[in-house]
């Protein structure tokens, strides 16, 4: 089973290689580790090479990120089986509504934002990373995560609420400490 013939190799370089940064960034946020992300993103890219003949054209970034996502989740299952991927209990975590003022204090600083994002379950984190960092459209998010297009908006709304909640909570904890 050969990888790619020279022509496909060039096509791969042209279409897929520009998205190596996106692949790395996505893996880094899903795995919360640069070192692991480097390995897993590479594995995903090699897989993409192997599957490239099946790529029918279209959005190469979404196609690649879908592979990265699958590779990451398989990796997490194998290497960190205890990590919770379950959803938050919405009722338990129901928060007083964040206001622009309360949130403005909570979002100061890269580290605080990083920590807040990393405390979210991956299913929420990935939506925020795809939308806010990668700038994906709902359609692309649906393609990458296999969430039905019609529910991307509501899932994002939940993810954002969780992020606000995590931000405000860490703000409170820090204020007390």
């Amino acid at each position: 089973m050969s990888d790619l013939d020279p022509e496909d190799g060039l096509r791969f370089e042209r279409l897929v290689l520009p998205h190596v940064d996106a692949a790395f960034n996505f893996a880094r946020w899903l795995l919360r580790s640069r070192a692991d992300a480097e390995d897993v993103a590479q594995e995903a890219l090699l897989r993409a090479c192997r599957f490239f003949r099946g790529f029918q054209g279209g959005d190469a970034r979404a196609w690649l990120l879908q592979i990265v996502r699958n590779t990451c989740y398989s990796w997490l299952e194998k290497n960190r089986p205890r990590e919770p991927t379950v959803e938050f209990d919405e009722e338990l975590h129901r928060q007083p509504v964040a206001t622009p003022e309360s949130i403005a204090i909570a979002v100061e600083g890269r580290e605080r934002l990083t920590r807040a994002l990393e405390t979210l379950p991956p299913r929420y984190r990935e939506l925020l990373v795809l939308r806010e960092l990668e700038g994906c459209s709902y359609k692309e998010i649906a393609a990458i995560t296999s969430i039905p297009l019609g529910t991307v908006m509501s899932s994002l709304s939940r993810a954002r609420r969780q992020l606000h909640c995590a931000l405000v909570n860490s703000g409170c904890r820090e204020a007390i400490a």
């Binding site: 990888d3 290689l17 790395f24 946020w29 090479c49 206001t99 934002l113 806010e132 990668e134 908006m153």
Partner: protein, 250 residues
Amino acid sequence: MSCDLTRLALHGYFDGELSAASNADFKRHLEHCSDCVLELATQNVVRDSLQRARLYDFGPDSLKQRVRAHLRSGVRTAASTQRLIWGWVAAAAAFLVVAFLVWRVVPNVHDDDDYQVGLAAGIVDAHVRSLQPGHLTNVDSADQHTVKAWFDGKVDFVFPIRDFTNDGFSLLGGRLDIVQGRTVAVLAYARSGHVVNVFIWSTREPEESARAGARRGYQWVAWQKDNMEFCAVSDAAPAELEQLHRLFAG
């Protein structure tokens, strides 16, 4: 949350994903729903800080080099570890040769590379920020003299301001922006539905050939002319940016 619309439509509105009709509906709704106005303001604060915090993590160059080496070596992934290893050795050797040349021939080029990665990221960030409603231009005009007059006294260099409507790039106006702590002049163009920002600042760096790349799905092309650095960025096709580059050069 008391307002049911807040839960859903607000996010579609915030993300620019509503249909034109729903968008208009939601705008009307905003006129008399303080809950939604507040929620939207909160979302904006968070998005702004996410953008400012530069959370996007660019992979190490070594990752790209390894994938490229893998492609070039034409390895069959299944069993031929031997060839894979030789591929790596060849890539490492090539890398060392290049590194040595770079180190000997062009001092500080490594810093330049880091600088450029950061710069491209900063410019793409600024481009994305400018796409938020009301952020694209400080001076709104297709007339180059009006735009030029606006820039007078605001930047300490003189740069060409031209409208290329005949070639498909219509001047929308200009603004000042800040990229990596430096004030830069920006000209905004419309190109068949895409916004193209051209960032311009003065430089003392020796002139080098044009460079291009992609970040987060946006394309950029950078070039130098007359002690100025230009960087055009857009979600348009790379060839279109190249065309704009030629128009500026011509």
